[in-house]
């Protein structure tokens, strides 16, 4: 008889660790940083008690964590690490080695505002500041989505040899308990087969890795990466569909929508605030406003085509950014959206607010009120 799914209550950080365990990773380098630390602690314990047959490397900082991750991946291992905020910024240089080296590392970034000054709480400046590192980026809005997305991320990363960052908010997701469905391991194994790298460091077949190139080769590698990131979109959709077929769970593919079909006013945001925005949409509907939600799950590559297809005619899109786009008014999501729509959907109006910086609370009523205020502008 087939094993049944198990339902537990768990935090987002622990959900991430459970997904990593069921992905049967081989190597986990890590350095603690709040609010990510709970993931590393859970994985370290799983490795020590034998639940997870992997090597945990307690490195001396995030720069080394990513360097070790890249190297282990090049040696053919399935690799996971996690970080937040300044840890992610400290990795920045090596993020490019993972993407340029075409190594399918999967990393959780637990979103937190960045220094200076210090803050512990969530905003999205950390992950959005890595937009141009050549990593694919998912952003998740529930503990279950974190679990599901990590498994989908390993699959997509290994199909296209591009590293993937799975982002979710510190505290609101990482430290809050929510119901979590754990599919049977045999289903996960069916969805995510063992990592079979096309190429790996192998002394029996010597080759050199990530070395100097001449301009023409260099440009070719860059172009391949740029093309392949875009080519990840159908793979992301396929992974979401097949995951649904096997487990019955669906969080959206490149995007997730709520009451969007007939919407005249569309809220657009990522991460936990987008979960709360569903409730804001309900409030607005009760007030007679035809509101809907469009939540990009993918931020890199930006799901432009899917957004163009799905937005109702003449909609006003209210982009709520939890980051700054320094040098421009407003946030980065709004700029991405405008870039996607320009010349394609001239019927759409885009308005923008930066909200929730440094973890300022974003309750449903506040966001509903803000959207109403934006409608007046």
């Amino acid at each position: 008889m087939k094993a049944a799914a198990q339902v537990i209550m768990d935090t987002g950080a622990h959900a991430a660790a459970l997904a990593v365990k069921s992905a049967r990773v081989d190597v986990v380098p890590g350095y603690p940083i709040t609010p990510q630390t709970a993931i590393m602690e859970a994985l370290a314990a799983m490795v020590e008690n034998g639940e997870l047959h992997a090597r945990f490397i307690p490195v001396e900082g995030e720069h080394s964590a990513m360097a070790a991750a890249v190297a282990a991946s090049a040696a053919g291992a399935r690799v996971f690490t996690a970080t937040s905020a300044n840890g992610l910024l400290y990795m920045h240089e090596v993020l490019h080695m993972a993407s340029g080296g075409r190594l399918p590392v999967v990393m959780c970034n637990v979103n937190r505002g960045i220094f200076a000054p210090w803050t512990l709480w969530a905003d999205h400046q950390d992950s959005f500041a890595q937009r141009d590192t050549g990593w694919i980026q998912y952003h998740c809005s529930s503990n279950q989505e974190v679990f599901n997305t990590i498994l989908q991320a390993f699959r997509v990363a290994e199909q296209i040899n591009i590293p993937i960052m799975v982002n979710f908010d510190g505290f609101a997701i990482s430290h809050c308990l929510m119901p979590l469905t754990l599919p049977p391991q045999e289903d996960i194994d069916r969805f995510l087969p063992p990592f079979e790298p096309e190429w790996r460091l192998d002394p029996a077949h010597p080759s050199s890795f990530s070395n100097v190139t001449m301009a023409a080769e260099y440009a070719t590698f860059r172009q391949m990466l740029a093309d392949d990131i875009l080519a990840a979109i159908p793979l992301v959709k396929q992974a979401a569909r097949e995951y649904q077929e096997i487990t019955g769970m669906w969080d959206g593919d490149t995007i997730d929508t709520y009451r969007l079909e007939d919407a005249e006013v569309v809220a657009l945001a990522v991460n936990s605030m987008a979960a709360e925005l569903r409730l804001s949409v309900d409030i607005l509907r009760q007030q007679g406003i035809k509101a809907g939600l469009l939540r990009p799950r993918l931020v890199v590559p930006f799901p432009s085509e899917d957004i163009i297809q799905v937005l109702p005619r003449n909609a006003q899109v209210m982009v709520l950014d939890r980051n700054y786009n320094y040098g421009h008014p407003g946030g980065i999501l709004a700029q991405e959206l405008k870039g996607a729509l320009f010349g394609r959907r001239n019927d759409i109006t885009v308005k923008n607010r930066v909200m929730g910086i440094g973890g300022i609370d974003l309750p449903r009523r506040l966001m509903a009120d803000e959207i109403r205020a934006m409608m007046e502008e």
Partner: protein, 250 residues
């Protein structure tokens, strides 16, 4: 109400301080405050704290202070000292900040004989983030990332900072290890480390063995036992290099 005597250099509106009850940081900072008073350097001192529980001291003294990135206190103090050599720069950090994420700065500033004073609080774990294994965690010691005890087979042996700094520094450097259980000696070492900067002799470093009952999950007696009977035998206290006393003060 009896008000205990406190150093003049302390910033009183921030007292009582923010450390956990039983934490050794308060003892180190009390000794440091008294030394700042005795050397009369409060109005020349820049205090820089790392990220870690050391950051809870950002408003501890009535001195200029700065918080840095985790691990970067040392180059920040070096930058200040090189641009304003008349100032007294004190970098205050944990064993994680100094021996793991900032270790390249510790090594290189020591090799360059930068004329800064660094105080590193060794509590055998990453305290601020909730008690993970640090380079100083003792063999067999349980932490959040070594729940069955540190295994030297896979994670090596504890870092002995003063021992390696004594090797790489040049003449004029001051290197010592103190403990919060020997207050007078702690104060003497801190004073020497500051005198050494004032006299312009060279790099000055004091590691201080300290307590972290919150993450060790120890009561008062167990805390003191761990410090005196586990840490101190492993990390011998004393002066390892000093321009003031030939052979050092053991």
């Amino acid at each position: 109400m009896i008000t205990p005597a406190v150093p003049k250099s302390w910033y009183l509106p921030t007292k009582p301080h923010k450390f956990c009850p039983g934490c050794g940081h308060g003892i180190v900072l009390k000794a440091l405050g008294e030394v700042i008073d005795e050397l009369e350097i409060q109005d020349q001192t820049i205090f820089g704290c790392d990220i870690g529980c050391s950051l809870l001291s950002w408003d501890f003294f009535a001195c200029d202070s700065t918080q840095t990135h985790h691990g970067r206190t040392i180059p920040v103090m070096v930058g200040i000292k090189r641009s304003r050599p008349e100032l007294i720069t004190i970098g205050y950090m944990g064993d994680g900040g100094g021996y793991s994420i900032g270790s390249q700065h510790l090594l290189n500033s020591a090799v360059r004989n930068e004329k800064v004073t660094l105080i590193l609080v060794n509590n055998t774990n990453y305290g601020m983030t909730g008690g993970q294994m640090a380079p100083t965690t003792l063999p067999g010691q349980k932490t959040e990332t070594s729940p069955y005890g540190r295994d030297p087979e896979t994670t090596g042996y504890p870092t002995k900072g003063p021992e390696f700094l004594a090797e790489v520094t040049s003449e004029g450097a001051y290197v010592a290890r103190a403990t919060v259980s020997k207050y007078k000696q702690l104060k003497r070492f801190l004073k020497n480390a500051l005198r050494n900067q004032i006299e312009g002799n060279g790099f000055s470093f004091v590691e201080v063995l300290s307590t972290c009952p919150t993450n060790w999950r120890t009561n008062a007696q167990q805390t003191w036992h761990f410090l005196e009977d586990e840490m101190e035998p492993y990390f011998p206290v004393g002066e390892l290099k000093s321009p003031f006393s030939k052979g050092g003060d053991k």
